[in-house]
């Protein structure tokens, strides 16, 4: 292992970083196992388990029937026995066939038992669009899960974060929903933007939940976002910088717990808030962030904009999908609006 004090220059894709932390935890703890559809021989449709079958075998990298309620529920049961399952929902969009296990058992058993039972389960799922997979395979559903009390919700945007957050997730004694964006994984057949591939230490390390990361400092406007849109916001910030607007970009990294402090601090500095999200606009992430700021320090807030998927299912055809999923230009436009609008 490399010394953490040495400069780290090994770069990994986000999927390699995730897999590395899973493998590390599986070596360290026999109670960790992974279950999901096509996670064994295939290595995960989105490379989430690439190579793990070879090292750990079928008992610990388990293919399961297309019965999400049964296998997610089985993971809940195994976790309550003290094992530490990682269960994958291939696309987050499939949550509806197993939402009761997620919502009424996984998320609530700890509370309903007065803390006598805990469920150390990591539920992973692929999220996001941008490749024309239409309404049933392109959602992020960030708001849907963050609204559920009892689940910690993690959304990494870089390889470095993905690894540290995964270590933290597996070691956490509570249920963690770990949502990885397909477009960021670095899958051969779905080219990632440049940002998510980062230097990643070989050693294990943990990133605390509830610590948003200022991915770019800026003085004029606060852009709060997560997942893929961290990179789109950074792109927008570059263009805006050329035009003299200095945007701060905050990567939430976890939705639950939510790091309101870092956001408030930034808004107190900039006075302007743009929230960017790949989930549906209404009753979701953008509303929560804006309300938290309004509730926390209304006086600090001079202007606000929401950039999210308008309230329509994700359309298939390219011109329409491009229209509804915010891109850097959309973010730029909204930033210009809050900056000029006063």
């Amino acid at each position: 292992m490399s010394d953490a004090d040495d400069a780290v220059d090994r770069e990994l894709t986000m999927s390699r970083a995730m897999v590395e932390s899973i493998a590390h935890e599986m070596r360290a703890n026999e109670e960790v196992f992974y279950m999901g559809e096509d996670v064994a021989d295939y290595g995960g449709i989105f490379d989430s388990t690439q190579g793990l079958l070879d090292e750990f075998g079928r008992d610990r990298i388990m293919d399961v029937p297309i019965s999400e309620t049964a296998y997610l529920g089985a993971a809940v049961g195994a976790a309550q026995e003290g094992m530490r399952p990682i269960a994958e929902l291939m696309f987050v969009d499939f949550f509806g066939v197993a939402m009761d296990q997620i919502y009424n058992q996984l998320a609530k058993n700890t509370y309903m038992s007065g803390g006598n039972v805990n469920v150390p389960l990591v539920l992973t799922a692929a999220v996001g669009g941008t490749y024309n997979d239409a309404a049933q395979h392109s959602q992020t559903l960030y708001g849907t899960f963050a609204h559920v009390p009892g689940l910690k919700v993690v959304v990494p945007s870089t390889a470095y974060d993905a690894k540290g957050l995964m270590h933290n997730a597996i070691r956490d004694d509570d249920p963690v929903m770990y949502l990885f964006h397909k477009r960021l994984m670095g899958i051969g057949w779905m080219p990632a933007p440049d940002g998510p591939k980062t230097p990643v230490p070989e050693t294990d390390y943990t990133i605390p939940f509830g610590s948003a990361d200022v991915k770019r400092e800026g003085a004029d406007v606060t852009v709060v976002t997560l997942g893929l849109h961290v990179h789109r916001a950074l792109d927008a910030a570059e263009s805006l910088a050329a035009g003299g607007i200095d945007a701060e970009v905050i990567d939430l990294r976890t939705l639950v717990p939510l790091d309101t402090e870092t956001i408030l601090e930034s808004v107190r500095k900039t006075g302007r808030l743009v929230v960017v999200d790949e989930d549906y606009r209404s009753f979701g992430v953008t509303g929560e962030i804006i309300a938290s700021v309004a509730d926390g320090d209304l006086d600090a807030l001079d202007a606000v904009e929401r950039v999210a998927v308008p309230d329509v299912p994700i359309p298939y055809a390219r011109p329409m999908e491009n229209e509804v999923i915010p891109d850097a230009t959309d973010i730029e436009a909204s930033v210009r609006e809050v900056v000029s609008g006063e």
């Binding site: 220059d9 049961g77 058993n109 540290g164 933290n168 980062t198 390390y205």
Partner: protein, 347 residues
């Protein structure tokens, strides 16, 4: 053959469970008379009592050890008693007290006793997958513990149960699914909602043995369950076991049961598995004194639990904010390490 000692144990738990439900009914109705107000009295909310279903619970659970897992549905008391759940803390939970199994957060449909691996869910059939998961854990750990999921006959049409049959079967898990057939799912008689007469007929389509004990008889259940649990413990895979039971009360307290034909209710009251076992015990030589001694002990145990529960402190309002997570919400770490990341200029 079931030994006399074991028969006495089954009987003791049956009368305990029966007395328990009858006493809870009384306690529940306090403050709810003459006008029934579900949120009034010492036990508010829904209450599903299991009087008439004791044979299934004791016949199955008396084969189980503390490290075997049981999941029960919305009607859990008889199963909890048979599994050895702490009666005092369970009762305190039902009364919503701070020292209850769930500190008053769960209530009667959400009893969790990790000491004897007992859990509940109020959502139909959703206890089945976790039971399969407990069995999976045992298998992975090479332990010989088993898991049992209890469900009602109305629950056999729910995806969570049906998927669990396949999941357990294809992974050869040490789990037994026990269907308590009391003929009714609230107001719906089983023939209105289920295509097969016997739930156990579903088993074959999942490559699993299925048995039905078609009378409300603790000893017959005990023998059938012994086989099923033995198969599981010997790593021979899952079993579906259905047991005919009877609902002596409404679906929940306050149920007017206007949908229920009088003769159905009368028949349920007449066919009492406790009477049946009692007469078997008499055949084995037990007399009035022996039986009333057992019943006396059971009643005392129940009264003690209820008395204890009622003395327990109420939770404070602000206790509501605890126990969403066992870890602080920030997870296991609170500080990010500091690496010098070459080229990681966007961090």
């Amino acid at each position: 053959m079931v030994s006399l000692g074991r028969m006495r144990e089954l009987y003791a738990d049956m009368v305990t469970a029966r007395h328990y439900e009858e006493r809870l009914q009384e306690e529940y109705l306090e403050g709810k008379q003459p006008a029934f107000d579900i949120s009034a009295g010492p036990i508010p909310g829904e209450l599903h009592l299991a009087a008439g279903q004791e044979a299934a619970a004791v016949g199955v659970c008396h084969h189980l050890r503390a490290d075997d897992t049981v999941t029960a549905p919305h009607r859990p008391h008889h199963v909890a008693i048979a599994k050895g759940v702490d009666l005092k803390r369970m009762t305190a939970e039902i009364f919503g007290r701070k020292t209850g199994l769930g500190k008053g957060k769960g209530g009667h449909m959400h009893l969790f006793d990790p000491d004897v691996n007992f859990a509940c869910s109020g959502i139909i059939a959703e206890g089945c997958p976790p039971a399969a998961g407990a069995a999976l854990a045992a298998k992975k750990r090479n332990e010989d513990s088993v898991a049992v999921a209890f469900l009602g006959e109305g629950a056999i049409d729910q995806g969570a149960f049906l998927e669990s049959l396949n999941f357990a079967s294809v992974h050869d898990l040490p789990v037994v699914f026990v269907v308590e057939d009391n003929d009714w799912a609230i107001s719906m008689p089983k023939e209105r909602v289920t295509d097969v007469e016997n739930g156990s007929d579903r088993a074959a389509g999942f490559d699993m043995p299925g048995f039905r004990v078609d009378r409300d008889d603790a000893l017959a259940v005990y023998e059938a369950a012994g086989e099923a649990i033995g198969r599981a413990r010997d790593q021979n895979g899952p079993t579906l076991l259905e047991v005919q039971v009877h609902r002596r009360m409404g679906h929940f307290m306050g149920d007017p049961q206007t949908y229920r034909p009088d003769d159905d209710e009368e028949a349920a009251l007449a066919r009492d598995s406790i009477d049946r076992l009692e007469s078997t015990l008499r055949d084995h030589g037990l007399g009035d004194d022996d039986l009333s001694a057992i019943r006396g002990d059971a009643e005392e145990r129940v009264e003690e639990a209820i008395a204890w529960a009622k003395e327990q402190p109420q939770p404070a309002p602000e206790d509501a904010y605890d126990d969403v997570f066992v870890n602080p919400p920030s997870g296991v770490t609170t500080e990010e390490p500091d690496f010098d990341l070459a080229g990681g200029d966007d961090r």
